[in-house]
């Protein structure tokens, strides 16, 4: 069984690789390379895999999952300029949504309780199954 929960955050980014020339950046990233950046309303789906607890009928207590995502991802990204505010990207790594999705997955994996162990009100923590990030309703990334 897979359970998916959806979250939202808004943030800005600029797609610009400092190792490349102005012209190359314009060529590769188009208007996403413009100097002051731009923003999106991102939608994040986090999927977990496991079994529903026989007593509670829940795979994970929503409150526990929500606070993990809030602490590890939403608080990091919400209302930020990724290039200037988020450590993953301040050194010039380009915050394409591919790279943001990978960063979110890595942040969750670093702090994910061992599957099967108790976590908050959850009897057996499910495993992290997938991260889906919508940059816009039309651009969707799975990792």
């Amino acid at each position: 069984m897979i359970l998916t929960r959806r979250y939202r955050f808004s943030a800005s980014h600029r797609l610009y690789n400092p190792a490349l020339s102005e012209g190359e950046n314009r060529e590769i990233y188009g208007r996403c390379a413009k100097p002051y950046g731009h923003g999106h309303n991102y939608i994040l789906e986090v999927s977990v895999a496991g079994r529903a607890d026989a007593v509670s009928g829940r795979m994970v207590a929503s409150k526990d999952l929500d606070s993990l995502i809030e602490d590890e991802v939403l608080r990091v990204y919400r209302g930020r300029n990724m290039n200037l505010d988020i450590d993953t990207f301040v050194d010039g790594r380009v915050p394409t949504t591919e790279n943001v999705a990978r960063d979110i997955r890595e942040r969750l994996e670093r702090r994910w309780p061992a599957p099967g162990t108790p976590f908050g009100h959850t009897a057996r923590m499910p495993s992290l199954s997938g991260v889906r990030l919508f940059e816009t309703p039309k651009n969707i990334f799975d990792i």
Binding site: M1, I2, R6, A52, S56, G57, R58, K63
Partner: protein, 138 residues
């Protein structure tokens, strides 16, 4: 190849374990443990897997699928209080996990043919919470 049909129904439920205190239940289920229950517009996506029939070009007659969904799911659950009106939720907590499993249990015998069979049930409790179930254990 797979085909998916979407239907929706509205129902109320209460998520609480009778042996626990209200406070303990709220810790697990949040607002879902409100003693008088609350409701959702559930959205159900039912996916069948199979090969198109060489003559009709169809995996399964979608009209027939609609009829099965109406008789097995909507008649039982639409505009019902799940805990009071839909067994086994008189003694099983009607979480979205358990409701999706119950829908699978009701549909599987009706949608299990050699040429096409139930592949997955996806149940949205809200647009921000959904479960995929494919008949695996638990």
């Amino acid at each position: 190849m797979r085909i998916t049909r979407r239907v929706d129904f509205s129902a109320s439920h209460l998520c609480a374990i009778p042996s626990l205190s209200q406070e303990e239940n709220e810790a697990i289920y949040g607002d879902g443990a409100n003693p008088h229950g609350h409701g959702h517009n559930y959205v159900l996506e039912v996916t069948l897997e199979g090969e198109p029939d060489p003559v009709t070009g169809m995996i399964f007659d979608l009209k027939e699928l609609k009829t099965i969904l109406e008789s097995e799911v909507l008649e039982a659950m639409d505009h019902r209080y799940l805990n009071m009106e839909v067994p086994p939720f008189d003694h099983v907590v009607p979480t979205v996990e358990n409701v999706s499993r119950e829908i699978w249990r009701r549909l599987w015998p009706k949608l299990n043919f050699s040429h096409a069979r139930l592949w997955r049930v996806r149940l949205y409790e809200t647009e921000d919470l959904f479960v995929d179930y494919s008949g695996e254990e638990s």
